[in-house]
Each structure stands twice: as C-alpha cells, then as structure tokens.
C-alpha cells in the first residue's frame, strides 16, 4: 500500500500528491441540496456534475440530483449563454423546482460567462417562469476548496434572497451549520430547540440527504431550508456561524445586506466547542440550559474520565477541513491526546498561524497534502490517524488505527446517521477512537495476553 512513499521529504512546489481537499463546486452543490425544492445546477461540461453527484451519493447513500449545462467544445468557445438558457427551460419544465442554484466550474469561469446577465436575459425571455427563482455562485475550482464552494453558495443565497423587511428585528437567530453531515445538522437543530431558541438554519441537508425509504421517490424531499426562510433571515437579530471557513462569507454578507450582526463560533465538536455553542444559544435566546442537556454533557465528561487512561498522550495525525480541524484538535487536546500532525488541503495562512499557536510542537500545514502527512508520520510515528476515507490507505500502509472523520466518507455508512457534533457526537468520537485502539490490541495481542475485561 502506497509503496512509493518514503520517509525522505522533498519540498514540492508544483505537484500535489494525494490531496486533502477537493474543488469548490461539490461544496456548492451540497449547500444547495439543503434548500427545499432547489435544483443545484453545474454550469460547465457534464463531467464535473457527474463527479460531484457520484461523490455525494457515495458519501450519503442517497439520491443526489443536479443538472448541468453539458458544455461541448462549441459552448466553450462561444460562451454558455445558450446552454444555460436551454437548461433553465428544461429544468423548470421537467423537474419543476422552486429555485435553481447555478454554480460555475473551471470551464465557465475561464471563459468568463456572465451568469447574472444570463439570468436576467432568461427572465426577460420567459425561460424562468414567474414565481421561480434562479441564483448563482462563482465557484472556480482553481481557488479555495470544497469548503470555499460551500461558503460561496451560502453567500449567494443570502445575497439573492435575504431581505430586511421590519424595523425591529425578530426574536429569531440564523444558524449557519457549516459543511457537516445531515446527522450533524439534525443534532445542531436539536440542541437549539432544547435550549429554546427560535432559529432558521441555512442550509439544512437533514431530511434531504437521509430521507426515509417508503417505496416512493421524491425529487424534493420535505427537508431543507425554505426559500421564505432564506428571505426571512434578513429579519433575524443575530447569525451564528459555525466555523469561519464555511460560514463567514454568508454571515458577513447578511450583516452587510440586512444589518444582522453575526458571531462566528467553532463547529460544536468536543466539550468546550459544544459548550460555547450551547452558551451562545442560551444568551441569544435569553433562556437557560435544560437539565437534559446538562445530563448529556455530564455523561460525556464521565466517559472521557473513564477512557482517559487509554487516550492520554496518544499521538494523532489528522487531516481535513479547517473548521473541522479547529474543533477536533481542541477536543483531542481536551481528552489528553496529542495532535502531532495537522494538515488541511484548503489554503489558509491565518488558519495555519492560529493552529500553530495552539500546537507549537506539531507539524501544522494548510494548502498541504496527505503525501507530506504520510512522510511526516514515517519520520515521527503516531498512534492514530483521523481523516476522511482516503486516509485508509495511509492507515493501512502504516498499520495504525484509523477513525473516519470529515468529508468525503465513501466506504462506511454510520456518519450520515450519527452525529459527531454536540455532546452525543463527542461520545461517539470517544467510542470510535477507543474502539480502534482496543480492536488493534485484540487483533494483534498474542493469545496469552488477550483479555476480555478492562
């Protein structure tokens, strides 16, 4: 496995080997799927849309529908106006969504298609039926990563839709959950409801990418943020963005457009990050934290104390998206582990600086890749690897425990059903991590040392 990887590290300037990120449009597609009756549309050649749908489908084991402008060489030379207009005509006639969220690809970005102009012309020519909405986000794949695309799509929803309609803001907050799984979104909503806060969540893939099997297929499941809610976000008194990389573009745009102030928190992964989120909800709602939640928190802390001996000082290599890493690394420190290698593929000098402050002795890199990570691991061994499915190759090569975390997870099913956020999510993380350690021992210990109890 990965037999060509050696411990000798050469700085590379031009070659990316085993990326720890992917491109913007898949993030945009994911964000758009979290809007009720929304058709994500990929403006470019059809391979992008096929790849994004495949990866999202493999991750969530759910239908992921999206349309494409199906560029061939002609459109690439003469521009995509005709293709997008034809596409909109077909989409509204055949699939009847309430809203189409267009995102660009490398191709349409390089040829410089003016999407707002095309949308305007399509409204004028009647290709967009009355009462229907088309919005767009620029998501060039040669900048940022899938998280940037997610952020840009959210920003586009705000810019196109959110409105400030009342003098005095309503007693509602906006929750921007960040690029997390449907199970996480559901948990974030549950926490907000428990604390007793009225909220609008944007966007929300729960009940969209985990819809029930009842023998019928619905192109637009009941879930997702409604267009009316996206509009109403302008009347809320506060936005909470979970993770700056995934949400700041949207929350900032909303502040600028509708004068809704925002607070950026970490994704609620682990004890302190969840505490901060719960506390922010409490303050925003002027409520108190219910006993039920206190108990959940207590059960988590209890589990950490029970398992502390197996986690203490264990070295971890971790890769993923910046916002995921922010919280996850803090959690690992909380439970006594030692994050030794932390990398993200997403560019971000500021993120890198902040992470280095937190972990002065670790290898920390933004805009890096898994090949470097693997080489650092060969030089300084770690006890555990945490990351998305692709980390499996490295974990196998080094025969170390591996916990799947982040996006995409193509080869396991649980992540879409069980959250990693909140106190229960943290308990699940403890379970995953300790089970990995114990499983390895059970597998590898000689018979005379194999134990049944601990």
């Amino acid at each position: 496995m990965l037999d060509g990887t050696t411990a000798e590290i050469r700085e590379r300037k031009a070659l990316r080997i085993n990326p720890a990120k992917t491109c913007q449009p898949i993030g945009a597609m994911y964000a758009a799927l979290g809007v009720n009756k929304c058709m994500p549309h990929s403006h470019g050649s059809q391979g992008c849309c096929a790849y994004h749908r495949s990866h999202l489908t493999r991750t969530y084991k759910e239908p992921v529908v999206a349309t494409t402008s199906s560029f061939t060489e002609g459109a690439s030379v003469f521009g995509g106006l005709a293709n997008l207009q034809t596409a909109l005509d077909n989409i509204f006639t055949i699939y009847n969504p309430d809203i189409v969220a267009v995102h660009t690809t490398c191709l349409s970005e390089v040829i410089g298609d003016d999407i707002p102009m095309i949308i305007k012309k399509s409204i004028e020519s009647g290709k967009i039926p009355e009462g229907k909405t088309v919005i767009h986000a620029n998501t060039p794949s040669f900048a940022g990563s899938h998280v940037t695309g997610y952020a840009n799509q959210l920003e586009a929803f705000v810019k196109y839709l959110s409105e400030s309609t009342v003098e005095e803001k309503k007693n509602v907050i906006n929750l921007f959950p960040g690029f997390v799984d449907p199970s996480d979104m559901r948990e974030i909503k549950r926490l907000a409801s428990l604390v007793g806060v009225e909220f609008i969540m944007a966007t929300d893939t729960s009940d969209v990418l985990d819809s029930p099997a009842d023998g019928s297929y619905h192109m637009y499941p009941d879930g997702g943020t409604k267009i009316a809610e996206l509009k109403a976000m302008g009347d809320s008194f506060l936005s909470l963005g979970l993770g700056p990389t995934g949400t700041e573009a949207g929350t900032k745009a909303l502040e600028k457009k509708c004068n809704v102030p925002f607070k950026t928190l970490a994704l609620p992964i682990g004890v302190s990050a969840t505490d901060e989120f719960v506390d922010a909800l409490r303050l925003a709602g002027d409520t108190s934290v219910p006993t039920e939640l206190e108990y959940e928190r207590g059960r988590l802390v209890d589990m950490i104390s029970d398992m502390s001996q197996y986690l203490h000082n264990k070295k971890v290599a971790i890769f993923g998206d910046p916002d995921h890493l922010d919280s996850m690394v803090r959690f690992l420190v909380e439970i006594g582990m030692e994050p030794a290698i932390v990398i993200t593929g997403t560019p971000g000098k500021k993120w890198e600086r902040q992470m280095k402050e937190l972990l002065p002795n670790a290898e920390v890199r933004a805009f890096s890749d898994m090949h470097y990570m693997h080489q650092w691991m060969k030089n300084n061994s770690v006890d555990l690897l945490i990351g998305n499915t692709y980390g499996k190759l490295v974990a196998k090569a080094e025969n170390i425990p591996f916990v799947r975390f982040g996006f995409p997870i193509l080869d396991r099913v649980g992540h879409r059903a069980f959250p990693f956020v909140g106190y229960v999510g943290a308990m699940r993380l403890i379970e995953k991590i300790t089970d990995q350690f114990f499983d390895k021992r059970d597998r590898e210990d000689p018979d005379h040392e194999t134990e049944l109890i601990f």
């Binding site: 990316r16 080997i17 494409t68 199906s70 690439s76």
Partner: protein
C-alpha cells in the same frame, strides 16, 4: 410491454410528454422500440446531452484517465488542472491491481495533480507542469509518466505535449500527454478515443521481445472491475492460452509495450477500445473479434471462438474440457437460482458495453430484459458495425483526432495471422465483428440511449422491474422506489462477475436482490399495504 403495463411505444410517448418540444424531438431520436431486432432501426446516439437534463454521463477526461489509461498501474499519472478532476478519479473505478514484481509501485493508489491556482490560469500552467513532472520523477523514479489535460488547460492553451517531449528528453523516461479536456466530444466516449490514440502512439510496439507461446492473445476493453480480468486470466491459464496484455485492467506498462507480439486481439468493451483493435490490425496485422466473458453462454461461445481461431485440435479439446469442468460447478447453482428468478424482469442502463453483456447473465437466469441502453455509446454499439459507413460525423466528433495508421514495413504479419484469417473467413468465421445490442434484445423492448432521470422514473412507474442494473448516480433513486439496483459500473464492492466463477457470484447476488425482504419493510404494520414490496404491489409480468 404487455397486457398489464403500457406497450413500449406508449411508454415511450408518455416518457416524452413532459419535455419542451425541442427536447422532445431530440430525446425522441434516442428512444426506440426494438421492433425488428434483426434489422435494428437507426438510433440517435453519441449526440449531445440536452442541457438541463439530468444525465448519467461524464466527460472526456473521465473516459481517458478514468477508464482507459488510469488502470495501468506502473505509469505515474498526473492530472494537469485544478484539484477536482484528479481527486474524483482517485481509485473511484475499482480497477483492481496487483503489483507484479518486488520493488514496483502501484501508482493507482496515488492521486497526482498540478492543483492549478488562479495565477496559473492567468499566466499559464506549462512551467508548473514541467516542475510537477520533475518533482514526480525525483520522488518516485517511475518508468513512465502520463499527463491529462482538464478543461481550463485547453482553454488557456497550455501545450502539454511540448512540455512532455521536453521532459521526456530531459529525464530519459517515457512521458506523454492526453488532450482529454472535459468539454471534448459529448461524453466519456471522446476520452476513450483520445486514450486509444495515445496508447497506440506512445506505448504499443516499443518492446519487440519475443513471447514464446503457442497461443498468444490480448484482451482489449477489460478493466478488471472487481477482479473480472483475473477470472478471465484463470480460465485462460487453464486452457493454456497466454494473455500478453489486458488493456487495461491489471496491466503493466511493459505488457502494453509488448502486446503487439500477440496472434489475436479479442475485444470485450467495443465502445472504449475498438479503435485500438483496428489500429493494431492495420499496423501489425493482428486480427480481432468481439467476445464476451459475461454470462455462461457468452463465455463458452467466446472460448470456443478463440480455440477455433487457433484451429488446433489440442486447444479445441482443452477448451471443451475446461468448459465441462467449470459448468459442473455452475450447474447446480444456476438450476437452484433459476427456480426463483425465472420470469423476473430487469432493465439495464450502463456504460458502453455492459448494458449488452449483462443481458447474457440475465438470460442464463431466465430473466427478461425489458429495456436497456448505453450511457455513451455510438450507433454501432446498438445497431452493429455494419452501420459504420453510414454514421454521420458531427462537429463534436470531428474534433477528436483520427490517427492515420499504416502497415509497419517490418513487423506487419509477423505471425502469419493474415493467411490464417483469410482461410477462416472463407469458412464463414467472422472478424472485426460486433452485431450490436439491439439484435440480441427481444422484439418490442425499449432501447434508450443516455437515459434521463425522468425517463427512468417513468420506466419504473410503468413496469416496476425486479432489478435494474445501473450506476451510482441513480442507484438510490431506483431503490427509493422499492426496486433493487445493481451497480454495473462498480459492482457495489462485489465481483468478479466475468467467466464461470463470476457468473456464480452474479447469480447469487441477483437471487438475493430479487428475493430480499427489505422492500417489504417499507410500510409499517399500521399502514395499508404493510408487508408488500412496492415493486410487487402492482406486479405486472412483462410479456416481452
């Protein structure tokens, strides 16, 4: 397609109803009722997908890097472009691979890309590419490096071929590029053609080392998904036939450079590699014919045809012996499975050959294929190669290079295959053949090219097939409707399904899928219809 469901013609009409007029006209040409299988009607294939239609198609890059060249394990593959394309094609086609010798590296476990950033788009990416090739060489010292262009590379005009030539000279290893930008052509198919040209120009014929064996062949268009190629290897080894190269599943760069030493090419996936078979015949005189190792009958027929080609009694007998031995293992299983599968129905919408090949396996189980279509095929894949002279070349195809190939002055006919071919032809043996999918399909079945999401939904609504063979993008759409879906591009983590042992795997799999209880759980006991599967609720036995 019978007294209970609408007729195929009615179904077709109803599928088209929802479309705007222009789209109706376009899709109408791509949807046919197979009225006279022996003289297939003309189908609109290899034409553009209508923008806005939910299609299962991918792009030229996916066809070139993802399908044809990607599986060659000891070439170091570099995608020149922004990160997405390289990332998504990273081991996502399940091309199973074993390294052949100590110290080799399987580069398929790596995803390498120039990860182009905005400044490369503005100022050009050639320097970045040259540097990336150098870094890849320093890091891994591979035998060969291939470079794939993505959409923006073509638009900004990076000359990847000149960069490859320069670096080839500098590093002294084989380095070559593929202009397989995603917007080329109308689907993956364009990428297959581009890949074939590249393999032919840059690899085939580089190594003239003689191969000592009585029966030497190449298998073209077999990509070793789920280990299919290994099952074919096993059967061939048993028969005493030497495979020089399988293009391109589980194959090494060296095998490909040497594969012109074969006496025969047999073609599995016609769409993705028929160009190669033609070019190798023109240049080296190696004849080819179409085979199919999916399905018991297909496998037997293909083995017998190969034995007949070599014409050696020893081989002919050996093949019969192997078939008899293998069938002895298969027979009790298929007999048992058939008691549950006979009369059940299937529909297949897959790739550029599998929608045809897998009909053999369903026939083995006495199941009926009521509808089928390819994702990215051309007219010849549907109607047979005899329509080739009548296919109009449109603008999208014209942009794909056609290589001018000539007979190699020294190496053509090295193995005296030409005479052998002629005498066989005189006795009625067919070469360079493919009769197409429609001839094998039953009368009045539906043939749908580049099926759209909407048409698939309608098909299920009308006929509720017992199983659908398709891909990941529509798998869960189908299953939400209570119909099991077998992924026939990637096999759902399963396989092999080729050859005899593969057939056993497939029979068991379809038996499980069509008799699983899960669909009966979709309705809770407190609702009407509890305990019935949605697919069987209004069961309409399709009489085809």
């Amino acid at each position: 397609m019978g007294p209970h469901g609408p007729s195929a013609a009615e179904a077709r009409e109803k599928m088209l109803e929802a479309y705007p007029r222009k789209t109706q006209r376009k899709r109408g040409k791509q949807m046919l009722v197979n009225e006279s299988p022996s003289t297939p009607a003309e189908i609109g294939a290899n034409s553009r997908t209508v923008p806005g239609i939910i299609t299962q198609r991918g792009c030229s890059y996916a066809g070139c890097k993802g399908v044809v060249i990607g599986p060659i394990y000891d070439i170091l593959h570099i995608t020149h472009g922004p990160i997405g394309c390289g990332f998504y094609s990273w081991l996502s086609r399940r091309n199973m691979t074993k390294i052949r010798a100590e110290g080799e590296t399987n580069y398929l476990q790596y995803s390498m890309s120039t990860d182009m950033q905005e400044d490369h788009i503005v100022f050009g990416g050639e320097k970045q590419l040259a540097q990336a090739i150098q870094e890849a060489y320093d890091e891994f010292k591979p035998k060969a490096i291939s470079v794939y262009a993505t959409c923006p590379v073509g638009l900004i005009g990076d000359d990847i071929h000149s960069v490859c030539r320069t670096m080839k000279e500098k590093l002294g290893i084989n380095i070559f590029g593929f202009s397989c930008e995603g917007y080329k052509g109308v689907s993956q198919s364009a990428g297959h053609h581009i890949a074939n040209n590249g393999v032919f120009k840059h690899m085939i014929g580089l190594d003239d080392s003689p191969v000592e064996h009585k029966y030497k062949i190449n298998i073209l268009g077999e990509y070793n998904i789920g280990g299919d190629a290994w099952e074919i290897d096993r059967i061939f080894a048993r028969c005493g036939i030497k495979i020089i190269g399988t293009l391109s599943g589980g194959v090494s760069y060296g095998d490909i450079c040497n594969c012109h030493m074969a006496d025969l090419n047999v073609v599995m996936c016609h769409r993705s590699i028929n160009y190669m078979a033609e070019m190798m015949e023109t240049k080296f005189g190696i004849p080819w014919f179409k085979v199919n190792f999916i399905g018991l009958e297909g496998t037997k027929k293909s083995l017998r045809k190969i034995a007949q080609y070599f014409g050696d009694k020893e081989l002919i007998d050996k093949v019969e012996e192997v078939i008899a031995a293998e069938m002895a293992e298969v027979r009790p299983i298929i007999n048992d499975v058939k008691t549950r599968t006979t009369g059940k129905t299937a529909a297949l919408f897959v790739g550029g050959s599998r929608a045809h090949h897998y009909q053999d396996l369903f026939e083995d189980m006495d199941m009926k294929v009521i509808a089928a279509g390819y994702e990215f095929a051309h007219r010849d894949d549907y109607e047979g190669r005899d329509v080739l002279p009548n296919i109009k070349i449109d603008a999208d195809s014209r942009n794909i290079e056609e290589l001018e190939v000539e007979a190699d002055p020294e190496r053509f006919n090295l193995r005296k295959t030409v005479d052998r071919k002629k005498s066989l032809e005189d006795s009625g043996f067919s070469f360079s053949d493919y009769e197409g999918m429609m001839r094998q399909m039953k009368k009045d079945t539906l043939v749908i090219d580049d099926i759209s999401h909407h048409e698939l939904e309608k098909l299920i609504e009308f006929y509720k097939p017992d199983v659908i063979g398709s891909g990941i993008k529509d798998k869960y759409v189908i299953e939400k409707m209570g119909v099991p879906c077998k992924q026939l591009h990637s096999y759902d983590y399963g396989g092999p399904y080729a050859g005899f042992k593969g057939a056993i795997n497939f029979f068991k799999e379809i038996d499980r899928m069509t008799s699983t209880k899960v669909w009966k759980l979709t309705r809770a006991p407190w609702h009407a219809g509890a305990g019935e599967s949605p697919a069987s609720e209004e069961k309409v036995p399709a009489t085809v």
